[in-house]
Symmetry: C2
Subunit: 345 residues, 2 copies
């Protein structure tokens, strides 16, 4: 049986603090047989596009604190993440050779998927396949579930999105506009702020790094307060947002990326404002909402085809570029959804 090269991105060892490119290793000497053994009900897939997501940072740690929701990666093994792949060999009755799928796969050229039922079969192929790493995958479902299910938007509501130019934030802002809300985003560079205003259609945006006083900044952009906060960063931003929430405001806690690389998290003040303003703050994981995926696709595919949704990808070419791409999202280097292309078909 034909053995082929199977280049991989391995985690060298558990990471403490900020992940660096050197925490990962390219293994170019691995090989794989392009057939599944008789009787297997796994899938053998060829990986096409890989997704770099903030939550992956947690999986690089050894001992994840309470509240972690994903197991640690295994040192010496390939990184695991969401990706788009093509079925090369199938032992599972739901899939056949040639099918396109998205879901959890390995950072390598070929992967054996032992739990094929966790994969989504790609139905719409008349949109860029890489979109299934983000807009039509985890990031899209995160924005959709977080905004529509947790935030319960109402027309005319005031919406604030942090890390707004990220894969999820850019979509939340656009969903908010489609829902008739007023939406402001924060980001960490001038370029990203311009994108938010000029490409993604946010009503306004600001660079949080240029604000001495986040509370004052929010009061400037939301003189009447905030109905919905889509929380991606935590820390000082959350502290300032809490001072500006409106009565019965909703905070969907999607991520707290500002905290992931700190030895000890920052304490958040002003939580007692939750009482007087009757604010609901709720954490969510996208995985709980996958049953809404068909509903989401029904909404989003026409929006894409009609050009009503803007989506920006930051494409890194080849597995060799994957470690830098992943590390980059934690320093905000990427603009838009960070994707790694392994192969185009």
């Amino acid at each position: 049986m034909a053995e082929v090269r199977n280049k991989q991105v391995l985690l060298k060892d558990y990471v403490n603090g900020f992940p660096e490119e050197s925490d990962m290793l390219i293994n170019a000497s691995s090989t794989i047989t392009l057939n599944l053994p008789q009787g297997s009900n796994a899938l053998l897939v060829k990986n096409l596009y890989l997704s770099c997501d903030p939550y992956m940072r947690n999986r690089m740690n050894k001992n994840q604190g309470s509240g972690s929701y994903a197991e640690s990666f295994t040192p010496g093994s390939p990184i695991v993440g969401f990706g788009v792949a093509k079925v090369v060999d199938s032992g599972h009755s739901n899939f056949e050779k040639g099918d396109l799928v998205w879901g959890l796969t390995g950072w390598e050229e070929y992967s054996i998927i032992t739990a094929p039922e966790t994969l989504f079969k790609i139905q719409h192929t008349d949109v860029p396949l890489s979109y299934y790493t983000g807009l039509l995958g985890l990031a899209g479902m995160t924005a959709y579930a977080g905004f529509y299910e947790i935030c319960t938007p109402k027309e005319g509501g005031y919406v604030f999105v942090s890390a707004a130019s990220g894969a999820v934030g850019q979509l939340v802002g656009q969903f908010a506009k489609l829902s008739g809300c007023y939406v402001v985003g924060s980001a960490g560079t001038k370029e990203k702020v311009e994108l938010l205003k000029n490409k993604f259609g946010f009503d306004d945006a600001f660079n949080y790094k240029e604000e001495q006083d986040l509370d004052a900044a929010l009061k400037r952009y939301f003189p009447d307060g905030i109905d919905i906060y889509f929380e991606n960063v935590g820390g000082k931003m959350l502290e300032a947002v809490l001072l500006n929430m409106r009565l019965r405001g909703r905070i969907a806690v999607c991520g707290m990326i500002s905290q992931y690389n700190l030895e000890e998290g920052e304490g958040v003040q002003n939580l007692s404002t939750l009482i007087g303003k009757r604010v609901r703050m709720e954490g969510f994981l996208t995985g709980d909402h996958y049953h809404l995926y068909p509903k989401y696709m029904e909404m989003v595919i026409p929006l894409i085809k009609e050009g009503k949704l803007c989506y920006i990808e930051d494409i890194a070419e080849g597995l060799e570029s994957a470690p830098a791409a992943l590390v980059g999202i934690f320093s905000g280097r990427n603009v838009g959804k960070q994707v790694v292309v392994v192969a185009r078909e």
Copy 2:
């Protein structure tokens, strides 16, 4: 027209930091006419029992921070709070002389209530009238709405209550037991811990002042984690609770009494655990839930009559004792609901 003495407890001036008895003043020289002017639609009431509640601390400050929900008291005027009173003269068609009412009134012998529609008429007089300052008033409704509406209890759930021997906490614990939950409370003295276990029927209780490590304490009492946290204190306790919440846990934020006297609030770490555990944290105010009062009475009156609910009051005699009684609840001096008796009928 007959003028009578109307002893009052006045706020001297706005309070910074911890309120002291000397921030209030007994005015024994005030008088009042025991008839309403012709055409008034106010009520003139004789105050019987006054309630000392944690939220009153906020109203003693001049500039309440964002998130405050009650206006400041007026220096030189009587303190305002919940109480039980008897109608002496009525200009309002819903009330007549001799009616018993509860609601917001003044800390004085007689008050003119200019918004009688905010008062509840007392229907059941075969229970101690003082109960309408707590069990059958604000504290009771707070426990009822917070526990049943915000926490959505399920049989077998693990419930933690902080400040558990307080007016609200003692009731939440008992409602939790009535709902088939396992309930543990924290309090600040050995005596209160004993009360929780031996009088209020908590499954267990601990003195938070004797715990070096609140996280470890919670893990001891909740090896399987906490489904419902009824939050009365904030700060370090909340930080530790966040590490111990179970999947889809609920935190009802009723108060954060540990923070009210701090110049700068304590920052709360571990909020990112909300994400992985999909925890909902929600502030509430009892005033939003008054429409449930009849439903609450339907539940609670039989429980009182059948002796299935234990309720402890800490009774201070006379308006002169009111300043000390109010100050005492912020240092945890009281045991059970702090009431001031102005007159018994």
